[in-house]
């Protein structure tokens, strides 16, 4: 039986997450369905953006479970709405930041996080603390390119990422690296090559392939998140939001 993973890209901009990217993750026994938001920000680069992305992400998660998905992956390194989604559904919901930080800790100890803008530093600091993995988080680097400008020049992007990666390892002591924006999908290969050329043999984690694969692994074992940590919300009055199954008419 095919495993169905729903990838929810929590922005309204079409074309940032190409259908081809998503389809490349599929296998004969794995289907990846994709949704983007109808309400929310054009891209996520701040707490403000994240907050505005959450309500429709929750709705898309509810709908995904209703439509037969076996697991959900949130397509943003802020893991926006991860906790809320885990309350409203029972199927596994994974955030790529949490999954990457834990996987980096499995494969190394100290990891570096390489992302788009410096202003994300406090957000990522908070996430490492929240996930209890702070001890391993040693490096934050930003390439200073906004999310919506990423796909414009892939050679420039790979060069910028590799330069920051080498710094993260040599100057900050990282033993593993996390691509800190899901828009960097596919860049891990060039980065790893650049690092090996510099004599640095460290794993480079590409969060979306990793998280989709981990979701598949969890479905195979029948494991999901704890309903004690994330219990089903009560149905009560809710103005202005249509949450199927949770809004009172």
């Amino acid at each position: 039986m095919k495993t169905v993973i729903q990838l929810i890209t929590p922005i309204v901009t079409r074309g940032i997450r190409q259908l081809d990217d998503v389809k490349e993750l599929e296998r004969p026994d794995l289907e990846v369905r994709h949704s983007i938001l109808d309400k929310g920000p054009a891209s996520i680069e701040s707490e403000f953006d994240e907050a505005l992305s959450i309500p429709d992400t929750i709705k898309k998660a509810i709908e995904a479970e209703q439509n037969g998905a076996h697991a959900i992956v949130i397509d943003c390194m802020g893991d926006p709405g991860l906790d809320a989604c885990r309350e409203v559904v029972s199927i596994p919901v994974l955030g790529p930041c949490q999954t990457s930080m834990h996987t980096a800790s499995l494969l190394a100890h100290r990891f570096g996080f390489i992302t788009v803008l410096d202003r994300l530093r406090p957000i990522i600091d908070n996430m490492a603390s929240k996930y209890g993995i702070n001890a391993n988080y040693v490096s934050f680097q930003a390439i200073d390119i906004p999310v919506l400008e990423i796909s414009h020049d892939s050679a420039k992007l790979n060069e910028a990422l590799t330069e920051k990666a080498i710094r993260s390892v040599q100057e900050d002591g990282a033993d593993a690296l996390i691509l800190g924006c899901t828009g960097f999908l596919g860049c891990a290969v060039a980065m790893r090559r650049g690092l090996l050329n510099a004599g640095l043999d460290v794993p480079v984690i590409d969060p979306i392939p990793l998280t989709v694969h981990m979701a598949d692994a969890l479905v195979k074992t029948g494991l999901s998140h704890s309903k004690r940590t994330w219990p089903q919300p009560e149905i009560k009055g809710l103005a202005g939001y249509d949450m199927p199954g949770f809004s009172k008419p």
Binding site: S105, L107, V189, D201, V202
Partner: protein, 257 residues
């Protein structure tokens, strides 16, 4: 090409019940094989056992990589020899303890380990700190059954595990359970049923099966441990009493696809 995962049991006792459930996870895409260490303890229940098991694990890890195995799992929650083995080889080496604790953290936040004997409680504390998940570990409970006695009364063991798991949830605040011995393979179903009957819907992590599926995905992702953190040893250092291969030959490197 068919992939191959090798489970190394860091004990010298062959226990069919420990390995029979494992081979089932193999399929057309991935073969799973198991091997015991040749030198070491009959079971792992304390620090001395861990220390004596490590060398055997290192030797079996090197053997596996030379045979073309794609990933290694140390089939014990004590992860005997994991870091030395990661230095010796480049293919992924996963420990059941490390992997299960990370998965429990991701899925539950707070977790308890329910294990064999009091003598391993300190070991688990240290591992949780080493693996940076100590903040999530709320308690470690033991059912007071030696590893090699597990299959003398498996039903009794399952009930004890269920009882301690329930106490971990109700008394210690656990939101997830890690089975703290790979000899408990397959016991998760009974515990899950028992907890659900009390109204608790929480993940019960069976370390061996979780480690296998994670290893399968890491192989597909072409990811392995950091060779910067776990560099290959140099060969010009003399080692007495162990027949170690030369590390001069280039170890298998992950292909940059």
């Amino acid at each position: 090409m068919k992939k191959h995962i090798r489970l190394i049991l860091p004990i010298t006792t062959e226990v069919a019940e420990f390995t029979s459930g494992v081979v089932e996870f193999g399929n057309d895409e991935c073969e799973i094989s198991t091997v015991n260490i040749d030198i070491g303890p009959s079971s792992v229940e304390n620090e001395i056992d861990e220390a004596l098991a490590a060398t055997g694990v290192i030797l079996k890890a090197i053997e596996a990589e030379n045979e073309g195995v794609d990933a290694i799992i140390i089939d014990s929650c004590g992860d005997a020899g994991i870091y030395p083995a990661r230095e010796a080889v480049s293919i992924p080496v996963l420990g059941c303890g490390q992997t299960s604790m990370h998965v429990a953290s991701m899925l539950g936040g707070k977790f308890s380990v329910v294990t064999v004997l009091d003598s391993v409680i300190g070991l688990f504390e240290d591992l949780a700190k080493k693996y940076a998940v100590h903040e999530h570990l709320v308690s470690i409970r033991s059912i007071d059954v030696p590893v090699l006695d597990i299959h003398k009364d498996l039903e009794g063991v399952k009930h004890k595990l269920a009882k301690e798991s329930l106490r971990a949830v109700e008394e210690d605040g656990a939101n997830a359970i890690v089975l703290g011995c790979t000899g408990f393979i397959g016991c998760d179903e009974v515990i899950d049923r028992h907890l659900k009957a009390k109204g608790y819907d929480i993940p019960v992590v069976d370390p061996t099966t979780v480690c296998i599926v994670v290893a399968q995905e890491l192989i597909k992702l072409n990811l392995s441990h950091s060779k910067k953190l776990f560099p290959t040893p140099t060969s010009d250092k003399k080692v007495v009493g162990f027949d170690l291969p030369s590390f001069d030959a280039p170890t298998q490197r992950l292909k940059v696809v």
